[in-house]
């Protein structure tokens, strides 16, 4: 999409008078050259930064994924092994039975819950008066501002087997036997706690963004709806959702990217650092391969796989987003 924007520029200037004099032609050519290079010159600083910060590491990771890499004093040595790491990775049972399902289901649950909760909170904020809206906004922004590490430790602490608050409450009402229950060792409860953590950390962004969208919807639409006898449920689905659909698409796509590559929140949980294979996700798996087993090639291959996965999802989203845009026009 960036390309079409850039190409549009020069086309406008192509109003060519029937010139015959060579000087005039030269001037025109110069003008055309300037027209062609100026956008690139203007883009150059940001392209330089992007190339240095994003493209270069990306190329390195791609290269690394095709190598067996050994750390050596003063610079490591890589031997190219072709696509061996990818074939090993894609042939591994651990990837298909544990890593990918964990990553995908966890991300789907997190995205769904984050967007749903965020929207509900945004609807609430939209109805509040200025004072309460400010108070509530500050409260949810505090959840957003909390560093992932701190947040994770708080959730671990709450669900600490036997001693944590949730465990004690669940034990006292007879739901569990605190002495024999450890939520962190089972895949389901482990990811349920991680989901709570990630949703709690992620919903404020959705709430604030959706609220910004909600505030742009003209009140008249709702008044008209009410006159026609639409109830709150119908007004939400028939007026709110279609009007700010692009906002929903943007928060969904961003949440998807974030929730697919969750690492900290899993790695810091008890058993999440590699001891319990059942709870591996792609991020942790890639980290363990690269930095615990020093198998940088496989780690890089897993990272590339995650990138491709996200790229595919993003493309689908963006296409939907733009098709939506065209229909609106």
């Amino acid at each position: 999409m960036k390309d079409t924007l850039v190409e549009d520029g020069p086309k406008v200037t192509e109003v060519r008078p029937p010139a015959t004099r060579p000087e005039h032609e030269a001037a025109l050519r110069k003008k055309k050259l300037v027209g062609l290079t100026r956008p690139w010159l203007l883009l150059a600083p940001s392209l330089l930064v992007l190339a240095g910060l994003l493209l270069w590491p990306l190329i390195q990771v791609g290269k690394l994924s095709l190598q067996d890499y050994a750390v050596k004093f003063g610079g490591g040595v890589g031997t190219y092994t072709g696509f061996d790491h990818y074939t090993d990775l894609l042939g591994s049972e651990l990837l298909w039975k544990t890593v990918l399902p964990n990553t995908a289901f966890f991300a789907i649950a997190c995205v769904g819950l984050t967007v749903a909760l965020g929207t509900l909170v945004a609807l609430l904020l939209n109805r509040l008066g200025p004072t309460w809206r400010l108070i509530c906004s500050i409260a949810i922004l505090a959840a957003w501002a909390m560093p992932a590490v701190t947040g994770t430790y708080v959730w671990i602490w709450l669900f600490q087997p036997q001693d944590g608050m949730v465990s004690q409450i669940a034990g006292s009402i007879g739901l569990i036997d605190p002495e024999t229950t450890n939520w962190f060792t089972e895949r389901g409860p482990f990811y349920a706690i991680a989901t709570l953590n990630v949703v709690h950390h992620g919903f404020p962004f959705v709430a604030i963004t959706v609220l910004a969208g909600l505030m742009t919807i003209p009140k008249e639409l709702y008044e008209a709806g009410e006159l026609d006898g639409a109830n709150a449920w119908q007004r939400f689905w028939k007026i709110t959702v279609p009007t700010i659909l692009p906002v929903f698409l943007v928060v969904t796509i961003l949440s998807t990217i974030w929730d697919f590559k969750v690492f900290t929140q899993i790695y810091l949980m008890p058993g999440g650092d590699g001891a319990n294979e059942e709870v591996y996700n792609l991020g942790v798996f890639s980290y363990i391969q690269a930095f615990a087993k020093n198998d940088y090639g496989t780690g890089a291959a897993a990272a590339v796989l995650l990138t491709l996965l996200l790229l595919a999802i993003t493309i689908v989203y963006i296409r939907t987003l733009f098709r939506q845009g065209e229909e609106d026009l």
């Binding site: 392209l47 330089l48 240095g52 910060l53 750390v71 089972e186 001891a275 087993k293 198998d295």
Partner: protein, 432 residues
């Protein structure tokens, strides 16, 4: 055009990083003999010595007096240091410290990259070789080459609550059976306490039982390592250790994911009656909970039917890196690992020094919370396989994973041990 722009960007970024790196260390170069005007960069692990800063201030002054060179100490975190070292090694002589504290299990990995200086001859020349604690010297020696000086060492034994044991007329265990029955009695009589935590995240809690049953973590044959963790002996040891939790229920489910840190915290809260514990922990426990002063006891980890089970003898080396100041660095290492500074470090940290002569002095003091550990260290210390692959096996938590899957009932002991052996062998094979 686009490609050229990108190329320029890359070149610029590289240029920037290169200058940034070069700028770190401006004060090197010069002749070797005199240390005047030079500064040694020293990496030390945070947390071993609570008073590390005053210690190094003093050491720095003494070193400057001796050689004219200054030292600059940078404190590192245990949790992240290995990665930091790896990155620095990759960066080469400009990035690595001149002297660093290196955990014994890291030595094979770092030595293989060529970053550490082989000091075998220097040790011989200085006449220090014969005084080094054998197990510790061995841990940092590969193919006959010694990569640094043993600095301090620690070992794990059994720590127990003397007051609780006396109350129920229990004796410190001398066999596995006694350990088991003491823990079971404690479970009945002290329902608020954890009789014996079987911590799923603590590899070095499980290892003594594998060694004690006659098993090995891995064995070397003709240069190739092979896992021994699923041998009948090792499985017997694992079965006993995990059985304490799964059959005897002397360790509740919450302990399944605990590491040594959580066990230490629970000791501080007065929740633990007996556990495998490091020699550096009793003092820390009493500091966290002054009520426990005088109530702690220690014994070596009992053998199956008497004697002792071997326990991991871990520690740190002071190693020199292959920089242009390595001769000066060696002088600093010698100063810290011998004589007064070595003794002072050991006292302040509650660890054992790496020299027999200093260790004997400590043993002679007959401290009941030190002597059992010293005995364990001198008579029943063990090292883990000396290969880079074993470091990777530890980092990928193969043994904690095995123990946890048994504790949670997901696999039988044999299944879990077979799986661990398979994982270990895969890593050994990869690094061949």
């Amino acid at each position: 055009m686009k490609r050229r722009v990108i190329a320029a960007g890359i070149a610029m970024t590289l240029g920037l990083t290169a200058t940034a790196c070069g700028g770190d260390d401006g004060s090197d170069s010069g002749d070797k003999a005199d240390g005047k005007g030079k500064t040694l960069t020293v990496w030390i692990m945070e947390g071993t010595n609570p008073d590390a800063r005053p210690f190094f201030k003093e050491a720095g002054k003494a070193f400057e007096k001796k050689t004219g060179a200054k030292i600059h100490v940078e404190y590192q975190q245990w949790a992240t240091a290995q990665k930091k070292f790896t990155t620095a090694i990759e960066g080469g002589a400009d990035q690595v410290p001149d002297v660093a504290e290196v955990g014994t299990t890291w030595v094979p990995q770092f030595a293989e990259t060529g970053a550490l200086v082989d000091v075998t001859d220097d040790v011989k020349k200085s006449g220090l070789g014969n005084d080094l604690v054998e197990g510790l010297k061995d841990a940092g020696t590969l193919d006959g080459k010694q990569y640094g000086m043993p600095w301090y060492a620690g070992v794990r034994s059994i720590v127990y609550r003397k007051d609780v044991f006396e109350k129920h007329k229990l004796k410190a265990p001398t066999t596995w059976k006694e350990l088991q029955s003491a823990a079971k009695t404690l479970k009945d009589k002290e329902p608020g306490m954890i009789p014996f935590p079987v911590a799923g995240g603590a590899e070095m809690f499980a290892a003594p039982f594998i060694w004690g049953a006659g098993g090995e973590l891995a064995t070397e044959q003709g240069g190739t390592w092979k896992s021994g963790i699923n041998s009948p002996e090792a499985v017997k040891g694992i079965e006993f250790y995990t059985g304490l939790a799964t059959k005897d229920k002397v360790s509740p489910a919450k302990v399944n994911t605990w590491t040594e840190k959580e066990v230490g915290d629970a000791w501080g809260k007065g929740e633990v009656a007996m556990s495998v514990n490091g020699n550096w922990t009793p003092k820390a426990i009493v500091e966290a909970n002054p009520d426990l002063k005088g109530k702690l006891g220690a014994v070596p980890i009992p053998g199956q039917t008497g004697g002792m089970s071997k326990s991991f003898l871990g520690g740190s080396y002071l190693s020199t890196f292959d920089t242009d100041k390595k001769d000066l660095a060696w002088e600093f290492v010698k100063m810290l690992t011998t004589g007064d500074f070595a003794a002072k470090w050991a006292t302040e940290t509650n660890y054992f020094p790496g020299q027999n002569s200093e260790l004997k002095k400590i043993e002679a003091k007959k401290d009941p919370l030190v002597e059992p550990f010293a005995k364990q260290m001198l008579e029943a210390g063990a090292t883990v396989p000396k290969t880079k692959a074993y470091g990777e096996i530890q980092a990928s938590k193969v043994i904690p994973g095995m123990v946890q899957s048994i504790l949670t009932g997901k696999s039988s002991v044999q299944e879990a041990a077979d799986k661990a052996a398979e994982d270990m062998d895969a890593i050994f094979a990869k690094d061949k």
